[in-house]
């Protein structure tokens, strides 16, 4: 395969060309209340060719590999059609060619776990949630695992065979009474150990009871609050609030934004450190090589409150004269790689989370997360539930509010970073440019933020 692919890529009619082939087997399971909604083992098999000529890109993806030479010709022809019209200089950051075979060494391989065991584990959690309270009327248990074999080759001599494993599961209980419905749950994920999913019996029971409890919980009054985010919510917060804006493709063709996002600019107080890393073995955001064959790394985005880095593909790095960071990712062979996050983290701080509440007169402790979204400057994220904080004390349990912020003010309002760092994983992942879900992780300790707009009642 190696010599065949590398010889296909020896072209003098384009500036750069690459091939990525993938063979994936994935298992999907969905339980809903008393029903098994879906159990499937699917096979996704295909590849793509991406070519660059005079600054113009072409991307051709396909399920049928038998005429791969024709696909290479097509990609080159399309890149030339584009490149000949723009006649720009192709700029890719230089990287050393790599020839490597990367095999993962899973602690528990998803392929070694029989379907029976996967089902029994999930059915048990489902049953525990369904019986945790008479108000639990349904559940939503979503499980997905994948084993991926990937081959990447480019015209610079890089040839990488890479294995990837991915597993994620969300377990939610749905409580319903008197026309009101609330839900709550927990999640898990891993890139090297199926057995991470074991041992959630107590956790799912507790979460189901919280869901039932939320049926009588009030919503916070809409307004501005001091909020404390628990690690799970703070992780999503930093992903939305800063991670996306750090992706090089927002900046590299927008000089005005590049100026706004110039290195050294102050985004937070000195206690704030943010990084994105592909090196955390075991989390879903772990990655050996990105989808351009570039080794991943730990990239600091904010150090002591100041902007120090961003997430690059070879093109965005090349055009900005910065270093590629191994952040070019695609959800699968059907899509081209674009700058994405891996495991995005707020670095552990030194405040005991209990201390964060002490001097808050009227605030919210927001717990867990139902998602987030950003448009670069403004962002919003939904917390799973909240506690009212009055005069330094946790008082009433509240239904989870929607929070919003602005990247230029909200990060500066973080005045405490906790000691309780966690990097919880979940099923699903990040969406961008029509590519969803990409396995990403967020890690963070609890953080305290002043003056956050909260939408409640």
């Amino acid at each position: 395969m190696k010599s065949q692919l590398l010889s296909l890529l020896k072209r003098d009619d384009c500036d750069y060309i690459e091939i990525r082939l993938e063979d994936t087997i994935h298992t999907q399971i969905k339980l809903s209340g008393k029903d098994i909604e879906n159990v499937a083992e699917n096979c996704a098999y295909g590849g793509n060719v991406r070519a660059l000529y005079k600054g113009g890109w072409s991307f051709v993806s396909f399920d049928t590999l038998s005429d791969i030479e024709a696909k290479v010709d097509m990609a080159v022809a399309q890149a030339r059609e584009i490149g000949n019209r723009i006649s720009a200089k192709s700029q890719l950051a230089k990287v050393d060619p790599i020839v490597d075979t990367y095999k993962i060494e899973p602690i528990t391989d998803v392929r070694d776990v029989p379907l029976t065991k996967k089902m029994d584990t999930l059915l048990n959690y489902n049953e525990i949630m369904m019986t945790a309270s008479p108000d639990i009327k349904s559940t939503n248990v979503f499980y997905k695992d994948a084993w991926i074999k990937q081959i990447f080759a480019n015209s610079e001599g890089t040839y990488i065979e890479q294995e990837k494993m991915d597993m994620g599961c969300n377990m939610y209980a749905i409580a319903s009474k008197g026309g009101r419905t609330e839900y709550f749950g927990t999640s898990v994920g891993s890139s090297n150990d199926w057995s991470k999913i074991l041992g959630f019996e107590k956790a799912v029971e507790e979460k189901a009871k919280i869901a039932a409890g939320l049926l009588t919980a009030d919503k916070p009054k809409s307004g501005n609050y001091t909020v404390i985010l628990n690690p799970k919510l703070a992780g999503t917060f930093i992903h939305e609030a800063f991670g996306h804006l750090s992706e090089g493709d927002n900046v590299y063709e927008n000089p005005e934004l590049a100026q706004v996002m110039s290195m050294g600019r102050e985004f937070g107080r000195p206690l704030l450190n943010v990084y994105d890393t592909g090196l955390d073995l075991g989390v879903r955001g772990f990655l050996k090589y990105d989808d351009e064959g570039v080794p991943t790394e730990k990239t600091y985005l904010i150090r002591e409150g100041k902007l120090v880095g961003r997430l690059h593909s070879r093109e965005t790095a090349g055009k900005m004269g910065e270093r590629p960071t191994g952040s070019a990712r695609a959800i699968n062979y059907k899509f081209p790689p674009i700058p994405r996050m891996r495991n995005t983290c707020i670095q552990v701080g030194n405040t005991d989370p209990e201390e964060m509440i002490a001097d808050v007169k009227n605030g919210l402790l927001c717990v867990d997360v139902f998602g987030g979204q950003t448009n670069g400057e403004m962002f919003t994220f939904k917390s799973g539930m909240a506690w009212k904080i009055e005069n330094g004390k946790k008082t009433e349990m509240l239904a989870g509010p929607l929070l919003q912020g602005n990247v230029f003010s909200t990060l500066k309002n973080i005045d405490m970073v906790g000691t309780d760092y966690e990097d919880p994983d979940a099923a699903g992942g990040c969406g961008k440019g029509g590519q969803m879900p990409l396995p990403t992780t967020h890690g963070s300790p609890s953080v305290r933020i002043h003056d956050v707009v909260v939408s409640g009642k």
Binding site: L65, S138, S222, K334, P336, M378
Partner: protein
């Protein structure tokens, strides 16, 4: 290969359904005012649903000649598969909406590049630092479904979309506006409207104005009406009704909305993006009344959910919830989802409605509205793009504000007006053809 899978699977299972999805799409794109890329994807995949011992297994593959693999995986998963509630489609007549267009087929790379470039040329004078992005896509889909009950149907579909957007970074103030056209027919005729809509939003967005927190009259533009329908569809989806979590579950025949509101799910309209002769399990397409003159008429249901509810399937069995979500491919299981959601137009043009607003807000794009629990009826999100209206005029853009609306209350008691003009738009979740809607008593929380 579809016949091969059907023949072999018939021998192993009691009844079977095989789908073959073939798709070729081409996209050209301009980024930051310059031509950037061209993308072609070719998909060919197979899905099998197979019933034995009262269970229904599902599997898929995009591997050529994976007939044995498909059947083997279906056998492995059968033991844990859902109980087979329904029967696969039988041979029957289905409608034939016009969903192919020679004008789409004739679009070559050069003409797509030209159209996309024309959008950049028409918009680049908006501001000296404006970055225009634009794109044109065409998509050709062939779907074939065969069942052991004698259904053998196929259709071909052409889709086209054109989109344009403008980005301005003015220090720490970002402005991003965009608009798109989509259909299963040539949509290039709407090009001038596309350009003028982007121009309008951009020009309005150059000035930021404050807004007071509190209850406001809000004019929802079609893209924001899509967010409204996102909340409503959760409650009219037969799955929620069957699970007894839909607040509409026991309200058929009751007045749930203002009498001027009528909502349909309709996959039979010529040229709309989610029109087709039959759904992904061979059920004929239809126009399903959901709300008529404010009265709840019924729910949408795939074959499984319809059987559980004791109703007729409505032709809403689709692979995943939206055709542009990356999972809406052959590997997604069939579930109940909307086709084209349609809100019937009102009497007054949207420009006249806007001109009649004394104090209000125009919301074009909401962020984060899909993160809440839609069954509560609450639509909440950050106003990603929205404007203040004073005395019938847009005075500027609203920023850092959140909108929160209880739709079950507001659509019943606080509908002010519905526009006579309607627009076909699409999000990652659904395709719609809807008017502007002016609703009162919408809560805005501002910084």
């Amino acid at each position: 290969m579809i016949e091969k899978i059907l023949d072999k699977a018939k021998k192993e299972f009691d009844s079977v359904e095989v789908a073959e999805l073939k798709r070729t799409d081409t996209t050209v794109g301009f980024q930051a005012n310059v031509l950037k890329s061209m993308k072609t994807t070719e998909r060919l995949g197979y899905a099998l649903r197979a019933v034995k011992d009262g269970k229904i297994a599902f599997t898929s593959s995009s591997k050529p000649d994976d007939v044995d693999g498909i059947i083997e995986r279906a056998k492995v998963t059968l033991k844990y598969s859902p109980t087979a509630e329904m029967e696969f489609a039988k041979s029957e007549n289905y409608p034939k909406p016009v969903i192919t267009d020679p004008k789409i087929k004739q679009l070559d790379a050069a003409s797509m590049i030209k159209m996309s470039g024309d959008a950049v040329d028409s918009l680049c004078d908006l501001h000296k630092n404006v970055k225009i992005m634009s794109g044109v896509s065409t998509d050709n889909v062939t779907m074939r479904i065969m069942t052991s009950n004698g259904f053998d149907g196929s259709y071909e579909k052409d889709d086209m979309s054109v989109g344009a957007g403008a980005i301005l970074t003015d220090g720490d103030n970002f402005l991003q506006v965009g608009h798109g056209l989509i259909g299963s027919s040539y949509v290039g005729g709407g090009f001038n409207d596309l350009i003028s809509t982007v121009r309008k939003y951009f020009t309005w967005g150059l000035k930021n104005v404050p807004i007071e927190s509190g209850k406001h009259q809000v004019l929802f533009a079609p893209d924001a009406v899509n967010d409204i329908l996102g909340i409503i569809q959760a409650s009219v989806n037969g799955t929620s009704v069957f699970k007894k979590v839909s607040p509409f579950g026991d309200k058929v025949g009751q007045q749930v909305m203002d009498s001027r509101v009528s909502i349909f799910d309709d996959s039979t309209v010529d040229g709309l993006p989610s029109s087709m002769p039959f759904d992904d399990e061979g059920t004929p397409s239809q126009r399903t009344p959901i709300v008529e003159n404010g009265v709840l008429k019924g729910f949408i249901a795939d074959r499984t959910v319809a059987k559980k509810l004791g109703i007729t399937p409505t032709g809403n069995g689709f692979r995943a919830s939206g055709k542009f979500s990356s999972t809406s491919e052959i590997e997604a299981p069939v579930s109940t989802a909307t086709s084209n959601m349609i809100i019937e137009p009102g009497k007054k043009n949207s420009d006249d409605i806007l001109a009649g607003i004394k104090n209000g807000v125009l919301v074009v794009a909401l962020m984060g509205s899909m993160m809440g629990n839609p069954l509560t009826g609450t639509l909440a999100g950050n106003i990603g793009l929205g404007f203040v209206i004073k005395d019938g005029q847009v005075t500027g853009r609203i920023k850092n504000a959140m909108l929160s609306v209880n739709l079950f209350e507001v659509l019943k008691d606080s509908v002010v007006d519905i526009s006579s003009d309607t627009y076909v738009t699409s999000s990652w979740a659904r395709d719609i053809n809807v008017p502007y809607m002016l609703l009162d008593n919408c809560v805005v929380a501002a910084k």
